[in-house]
Symmetry: C4
Subunit: 271 residues, 4 copies
């Protein structure tokens, strides 16, 4: 009988692969979820690129970023990013750390990302900058120590994302769909902002518009549409995560017919 | 027996997917067609990303953007864009609203898109700007109320497109092929205009050239070529809309052989 | 028995598709070849996007751009580009007219393309600009009249390419491989030149370097490598032109095994 | 029985294809490996695009860039790049010469690439520039003569890479994984640096940060993740090199099932 825990692991692998497929994550970056059954635990994969994460790779950690079971596999050095944010922000249920090409130029030039289109308002009125150099001097720029994770969480404060100088960004959400759409829309916003600046000048949304548009990405109408769209693109690319073994047994006939073509596989993911 | 209405729904799903496949539409945006059998009705899909729209998703609306039959599915919040334009512009038979990456920088910087190459003349001599803020103050930037739709239609006036500040664009056409090519060529024009400005300066077509070149995209020679090309690319990507059930029965043998490879599928779409 | 003429048509369809697959051609643009058997004739497809051109689409024209046989299909309006250049330049055996995204910004801003890397020297020391407006005033920018074609050919002079204001480019070669590589390298050169200008300043090759590097793309070592590479990418994309019917009969067994996978198909094209 | 030499040839073909698949190499460029069994020899493919290199294409050369066995195939003109660097740098085990689109703008404008994000530190604190013109005057810009190769090696000095004016770059590593990740991260760094400059100004890492972050790409945790990720993407694209014949015999059953789909092929590469 499939277990609720299996579903959660599958959804986390799916979100990881979706963000990789949409260009937010690459060889690096990671996505975590606070354990729905225990707010003092979070789920994160072993050290593996998000594009290839499987449900079976997902491990459980305490909020001190210690694995609950002794691991046999390598772990992400930066798992304190997740633990420290879950400690500091009880409202946060999901965290994504990434090095997306869209945000790196801002992380290098030190230019703030501001909301420039309605969906970009998902990043909030302002996104703080954190520079590891300020507090820790020269480092290898990984956020690997608890005090580095806590410093980053302080900089995040009550915002929905934080930019990390010379490194990338960390985004939070109240669930996986919100996290995924926020991360994607922030990247689109960054691309458009850079090009608007090249064209002339960047005119951001007003704070009032940002507040009103900021929750568009959480509307059921929008979540349904984006989740189907990104899932469909993931399935088109042949990148859906494998189902846990017990499910495989159940769905064997379906998979046999699905093997006939891309279209069929695309469909399966929408059912 | 296949119904003319089925053909119309299929063509609308095809145009939606084509525009998604060419990068004009993404998770968002929508394409509508005035009902060929009743100028006081228009056809638009339920709330779903254009890449995955199927003929069966297409519903009928009055020009007040009310569904003709009580819907069981979610509807687009912004369907008034379509209804208000069909009311104001009896010559318009098809409407596309999009957030294409190519036009967003112009929508943010407030820089006009001007015709910079012969095919870009499809956008006309000038494209007006509409800023929801002017008339409605702070909003979430969706065009969801009838008065917002009417305001947008007034700004469009007799032009072929209107840019929406911090949001995207809306394009009109006298049929689906004209709408599709106009939308694609406007995006190409925007990309080239931005890069020409980075290189030196933008020298637009003269008004005389724009008028003469503006109808190139409606020449039979050109429509035949572009429609085949965009259809072929859609088929190559495995993204053709499903045929209604009754058609499937008829074409079963053809589809069996078509399943052998991409090239075969590409061919099928041209027959 | 396969006919030499079939081979020629196949090679021309292959070159057209290669240039489309590499982003030089899109829905528009066309490639012609002077008839190897008769210098007063040239071969060009019927009006069809180069990505989908088949050997059977290739027709024969006099140098006045008149079809040798009464055509049953639509012809390109701009076939005078080819005829007028073959008349003016006996050394030219192949012509490509395109609207590549890489060159359009230069055609709009009026900024010359200069050789900025060794392979970009394939475009020669300088590439002239032709503006239809200068001689013909306001037009729809198509080069459709013999006098327009002759004017363009005069502007090309003894160069290897000519840029067309607000329109695109026309490139010539002494055979199809030279034409294909020149067209592709000119586009790469344009992209790098624009970005170098954004970074700082464009330092072109010296005239001496340009002359020495300008023939690199015709070295057997290089032609062999690029032709295999672009063919392989075309085959990977499932875009190889169909073989004429008589060939199909001969190669049936090979094709059966090739149907097993992409890799196999890739191989076939190299044999 | 599979031979250690076969494994080495396979790994070199794999690294070549990986770098092509990630956009560092295109029709041109080449990757070599110092012979693990004899430091006075190196392995390099015959003249062929790296995307299609097969283990059987890999030949052995002396450090004077002379083939150990009389070749029946064409050789790269620029193999002295590899030989001269192996002579000058006993610590170097692998060399990649490329014309990546990401670095060309820097090679044209003469602007130095500096480390702008943690992974970009893989290129070191500074990357020297070499201009063939300085010492050799007008050339065709190929590095084909021993004195040209020695000049380039002198310019490289003890750095990890050298930029070549109007031509490309050459990168070195202590093994293939380090070479591959350095080459890819340097290209990402160049793209982000250019965009950061357009946004505002480029703030590089401090020398201390560069030194500490510079070895991140050699950490086992990181090498494992990136190698799996780039291999997976190569397999997804159907571009894995063919296994030598003797291996084929052994793995026949595995390949038969792998032929069923992309996902299956992707998996195989990770086992």
């Amino acid at each position: 009988m499939p277990d609720r825990r299996d579903d959660v692991r599958y959804e986390l692998a799916l979100a990881s692969r979706m963000l990789a497929n949409e260009g937010v994550l690459d060889a690096f970056g990671h996505v975590s979820l606070r354990d729905p059954a225990d707010p003092n635990r979070f789920l994160l994969s072993r050290s593996r690129s998000p594009l290839v994460v499987e449900p079976a790779d997902i491990l459980e950690f305490t909020l001190d970023a210690e694995p609950v079971r002794v691991p046999t596999e390598r772990l992400f050095a930066e798992r304190v990013i997740h633990g420290c944010i879950y400690q500091a922000r009880p409202d946060v249920m999901a965290v994504c750390h990434h090095h997306a090409a869209a945000v790196l130029p801002f992380c290098i030039a030190g230019v703030p990302i501001v909301p420039v289109f309605h969906l970009g308002a998902a990043g909030g009125v302002s996104i703080p900058f954190w520079d590891q150099q300020d507090e820790f001097g020269d480092t290898n720029l990984l956020v690997a120590k608890p005090e580095e994770g806590r410093s980053l969480a302080r900089s995040l404060g009550s915002h929905v994302a934080v930019l990390m100088r010379h490194h990338g960004a960390t985004v939070v959400g109240s669930d996986l769909p919100e996290l995924v759409s926020r991360s994607i829309f922030m990247c689109q916003n960054a691309v458009y902002q850079l090009q608007a600046q090249l064209l002339g000048k960047v005119v951001p949304l007003t704070p009032g518009e940002t507040k009103l548009a900021g929750s568009l990405n959480a509307l059921p109408n929008v979540v349904g549409r984006t989740w189907e769209y990104w899932s469909h693109r993931l399935a088109e690319a042949g990148r859906m995560p494998p189902r846990p073994a017990i499910r495989k047994a159940k769905s064997r006939p379906a998979r046999r017919s699905a093997a006939k073509g891309k279209a069929a596989r695309g469909k399966r993911t929408r059912s």
